[in-house]
């Protein structure tokens, strides 16, 4: 049962999308601001944090289609708006769909639903995605496919023990086609990760669990793509890219501010944020 977005047009707010001169990451940021402002919904900081990671994945990296498409699990489902923005900017959904974000009757809620074409898995409960991704990678092997599986996690999500169950499983079964990307922005819902459950040394932890771990700049889409290209799906270890990011990246008053997990944008804040993203 895969619903298509409601055909009726939703009222658009001010559209501030970038032009072809802007990077996909910048265009995703502008859509995130535009839609969260129109809908009056939060989780803006998290969506901005992954804008360049999602841009890297959606800019020609994922291959295949139909049953043999490379799966993407947005395990940090609360950043779904960045995923919708990427689907829109890469032509997979239309303006009506994007403008239905969080509207009555829309399938485009604050967390992604697999009923939408282009979204592989419904997520929102943290700690679920890496297990699904491990199963997807195992399925590819059983089906003789070299397709890769991408899972994007938040750093706070690593508090969940189930992540480490999946990490052990993927290493044990040498799932080299599994690529996890952790959005390491150092923040979680009620504080900074180092004050809640300190994750460091994060690369050493993953390596101890049998993974190849690489620290990358999470706001450098080219560097992310190069790191992904270096992964050999036939390798005997899964790979994790620890993408160092800034929560609220691109908007000065949001950066590293816990409160932007929650708040929607006022009109004044919206104008300032758009101006900053357009002219960094």
């Amino acid at each position: 049962m895969r619903a298509t977005p409601d055909a009726r047009a939703y009222p658009a707010g001010p559209m501030v999308g970038g032009g072809s001169q802007d990077s996909l990451g910048t265009r995703i940021r502008l859509r995130v601001l535009e839609q969260s402002h129109r809908a009056g919904v939060g989780h803006i900081g998290s969506a901005l944090s992954i804008a360049d990671i999602v841009a890297a994945l959606f800019d020609g990296v994922r291959r295949g289609d139909g049953g043999d498409r490379e799966r993407f699990v947005l395990s940090k489902g609360h950043a779904a708006l960045a995923l919708y923005a990427a689907l829109y900017e890469t032509g997979r959904i239309g303006a009506d769909a994007l403008n239905s974000y969080c509207a009555d009757g829309s399938p485009f809620g604050a967390h992604p639903e697999q009923t939408v074409d282009g979204i592989d898995f419904s997520t929102g409960s943290l700690g679920h995605g890496l297990s699904i991704g491990a199963g997807a990678a195992l399925a590819a092997r059983l089906q003789g496919s070299d397709r890769r599986t991408f899972v994007l996690l938040s750093d706070a999500e690593l508090n969940e023990g189930s992540v480490w169950e999946a990490a052990m499983f993927a290493a044990q079964h040498r799932l080299g086609s599994l690529i996890a990307i952790v959005d390491v922005n150092g923040q979680q819902a009620l504080g900074y990760t180092k004050h809640v459950l300190d994750l460091e040394p994060l690369d050493a932890r993953w390596r101890a669990f049998g993974w190849t771990a690489e620290v990358v700049d999470g706001h450098d889409a080219d560097a992310l793509q190069e790191a992904i290209a270096r992964v050999d799906p036939a390798a005997d270890r899964p790979t994790v890219l620890l993408a160092r990011t800034t929560f609220g990246s691109g908007v000065s008053f949001m950066e590293n501010q816990i409160s932007w997990h929650y708040w929607p944008l006022s009109d004044e804040q919206f104008d300032q944020a758009v101006a900053e993203v357009r002219s960094p």
Partner: protein, 307 residues
Amino acid sequence: MRNAFVEALTELAERDPRVVLLTGDLGFTVLEPFAERFPDRFYNVGVAEQNMIGVATGLAEAGLIPFAYSIATFASMRGYEFIRNGPVLHELPVRIVGVGGGLDYGHNGATHYALEDIGVLRLQPDLAVIVPADRDHARNALAQTYEHPGPVYYRVAKGGAPIVGLDGRFELGRLEVLRAGRDVALIAVGPIVGEAISAAEQLASNGIDAGVSLVSSFNPAPEDELAELLSGVDLAVTVESHYATGGLGTVVAEVIAGGGLATRLLRCGIRGLPRGLTGSQAFLEDQHGISAARIVETAKAAMGIAR
């Protein structure tokens, strides 16, 4: 029964390359036939039930038919939210195999009794809950449902004698009337139906005409057939190796209430989490009111007949 189930699963895997078996590090002397025949389709995920369900979700989304095996209480509850947000939310054919429901694990104690697995799993819409009553029933239930489009939970008993008169007949969502009776309808789920049959025989020797029916699935449950059965008797007694609340007894109560029936209902089932009381399965079933003798007591008391 669990051995018969795994034998049947191994035969299925022979014919269908989509079948994959995962276990949460349980199944010694049970899973070997499958593991030896299909080493590339058998995965011991370790003591990690959440991950087992998550991996099964990823496998099923790609078109495989994964079976996730553990002791019923761990299989049903340790990864419960992964079941809900995985195969249920995504409508995927994950099969959860819970071994030893109810009081099957006898002296192993409360941590090993699955007393609410049917109840919590039947709350998930479109998650088929299937409870075979004996070996042939389990084989047929598996053969008929392994390609079911949505998720399935199989509650597979450890042992259990053949149920007289059942002859392995299974049909999803159907009620099996094993014995007709005018005075009281005994309605059971799973192997404990054997105790209900014995109870009916004892009641007959007391001049009470007791029928026995077997419910083998929820989502769908045989609600229409239950309504028809219940509309013909004044008294119904449900029998389940499960909490009296949430499982069969609740389903029958819903049918009675929903149909505006006048049937009186008594529910034989476990009334509280057993603490500090161990023993054999038979001992515990008697202690918790679901042995033949206790079912007879319950029915007679309800009919105002002295013991």
